[in-house]
Amino acid sequence: MVRFKNRYLLCELVLEKDCLVYPIEQKEVYYVVRQAIERCHGDYGAGVTQGGMNVKYLNVYTKTVLIRVRREYYKLLWSSIPFIKSIGRQKLFFHSLHIGGTIRSCQKFLVKYGQQQLAVLLQKCKTQEERKAVQRATIHCTWLKGLSNFENVKHTEDDDFSD
């Protein structure tokens, strides 16, 4: 069966000065990744990844990037990503999280990753308010997960979890 098979690389942007929103466009991410592949893998790498590469999703609030690449050449992209040091004047690096075959599998991973990160954040909380907010978010996540597993169970929403 003739079908182009892809790999989706899920990355997190880690900025030098962590500000809430930094205006980065998908175009800029694309050019920076192209440059990195050209530097690490030369004309061959640039030519071979150019056809199927695309920045599918970019969220500057959560700083997640999803890059698509052809399945045969995903290692070229994966190995060039650590060499990116800045986009424009903003210094940052790409923290690669997951490589999936479909966007849906990357989204599933992102949900699990978010829950794990909440547990890490809970340990880093400094004030009581922050701790309560993180706990509420964690409970909400696990409640939503439980709800999706047992669809027929009825819950009264805010009874148990109001603080």
């Binding site: 592949i37 050209e38 530097r39 690490c40 893998h41 030369g42 004309d43 061959y44 790498g45 190995s79």
Partner: protein
């Protein structure tokens, strides 16, 4: 049923190459020759291309001819990079690959360039 056991690819491949310039006066010493090979790998395969070890075993400065040794994993990359290398410092040049073998002894003789003395 015959059982075939393979030893795998040879460890190293040896290439006899010569570098040709349109302007024959341009002198290339062995260090510059190695630098040109590395530049060819850099343009074609980037920094991962330059990471492969290419050894210049013998170099003939008059004819700009050399015997190179490369690990089998980098062999096709080296040959393709040398083939597609066209310019060095605004001068047109070309790598001619005369012989290739996994055994160095095979490069001792070349039936194409062998001159039979005619009396």
């Amino acid at each position: 049923m015959k059982r075939i056991v393979s030893k795998g690819p040879a460890d190293y491949f040896y290439l006899k190459v010569s570098l040709e310039f349109t302007d024959d006066d341009f002198e290339v010493d062995v260090l510059l020759f190695k630098a040109i090979i590395v530049k060819a790998l850099l343009t074609m395969y980037g920094e991962t291309g330059t990471a492969m070890t290419v050894d210049v075993l013998k170099y003939n400065e008059d004819r700009k001819e050399a015997i190179l040794r490369v690990h089998h994993s980098g062999f096709s990359k080296l040959w393709s990079a040398l083939t597609l290398f066209g310019y060095y410092s605004q001068k047109q040049c070309a790598f001619r690959v005369h012989q290739v073998s996994s055994c160095l002894m095979a490069l001792a003789f070349n039936s194409r360039q062998h001159m039979v003395p005619v009396h």
